[in-house]
Amino acid sequence: MKYLDEFRDSERVKRLLKIINSIKLPERVRIMEVCGTHTMSIRRFGIHRLVEDRVELISGPGCPVCVTTVDYIDRAVMLSELDDVIITTFGDLVKVPGTRGSLSTSGGDVRVVYSPIESLKIAMDNQDRNVVFLAVGFETTVPGIALTVKEAMQQGVKNFYILEGNKIMPPPIRALLDDPEMEIDAFLLPGHVCTVSGYLQYEFIVREYGKVAVVSGFEPVDILLAILEILKMVRDGKRGIINMYPRAVKPHGNRKAMDLVYEIFQRADDTWRGLGLIPLSGLKLRNRSFSAEERFELPKMDSKEHPLCLCGEILKGKARPDQCRLFGTACTPDHPIGPCMVSSEGTCAAYYKFQEYLR
């Protein structure tokens, strides 16, 4: 396949690794990836281990399902328990435990969709019921949701709502950089988030915090190339932002998609699992009549995460899955206790799947 094979080529991988491992550095460089797909790729190909003499790769808040709060899950479960509601959702959310069970155990009508747009068809086929799409995801996912809402408006669909949970990536990166305990030298910027939003809005990482940032694709050659560029900059005392995924990422991203996002949504304060409330980090509908929160008055409930789950700390890069007492024993992908084990992109799931715990 064009655009894939060249960036998976083992010869290129080997040579890049050799160069990376010959770079002279006073100490290991701490690089945070903030995209669940990067986390998966890194673990799948074992990149973290191949570069471990030079680099410490830390997973950040890059998994949309993982950063979704338990309170959101609880509200989704409550909605699913209403007789006249059909929940449509990406598959990853279904097994995330809320305070009292998950969507998979709620007994409600919960339908997994591949694309948010499928929810509209379900709404039209079920005029006597209300369809609520669980809107989670970052910039990569939001344009499709915005288009779905826009179509619902244009077609006058009256029984379609979304439970707003979409978030954008720059604010949590700033929050992490503001945390005095976090020692991060560089960020691997999320390729597909930047495909939509561009990367210019990440310049603050360099200008205000003096760190390094490189936009990276997802194949092994892409990731190693990005790591190499980071190491060269750190070695030479340079600071900057570089785009190493230009085949998909333009400086301003996909303007048409971003314009649509801000036609339908506006930024608002939002809460992230682990990171807490972050100013202007979430997206709320401008037209409130499609908001599930407006339509259904949900009682306030006392939401609680599992007391032993370290997912919140893991999302900040402050803990590793193997430091959790439940990892691989009580908590496994078949029986997940926290979202980081549910989502295929969660750090715990990635560690588990690629046998990290056997080391």
Partner: protein, 78 residues
Amino acid sequence: MCLGVPMKIIEVNRELGMAKAEISGFIQNIRIDLLDEVSAGDYVIVHAGFAIQKLNEKDALETLKLIEEIFFDDEVSG
């Protein structure tokens, strides 16, 4: 969840904002209304049923060239 898959456009229906796209013999209907211009033969990144960007061949080749330069420098200096 930000997984994006490169797919090749087979057939475009602009009116519906849809296209047929292919990867490894698997064909899927996708929405292309987030992009300005798409034609058969283009490669796009598909996420949750939407093409979110066209892949640019020139830039892909640039990156591969850059890698060759890195290897060349390494051989010269190493």
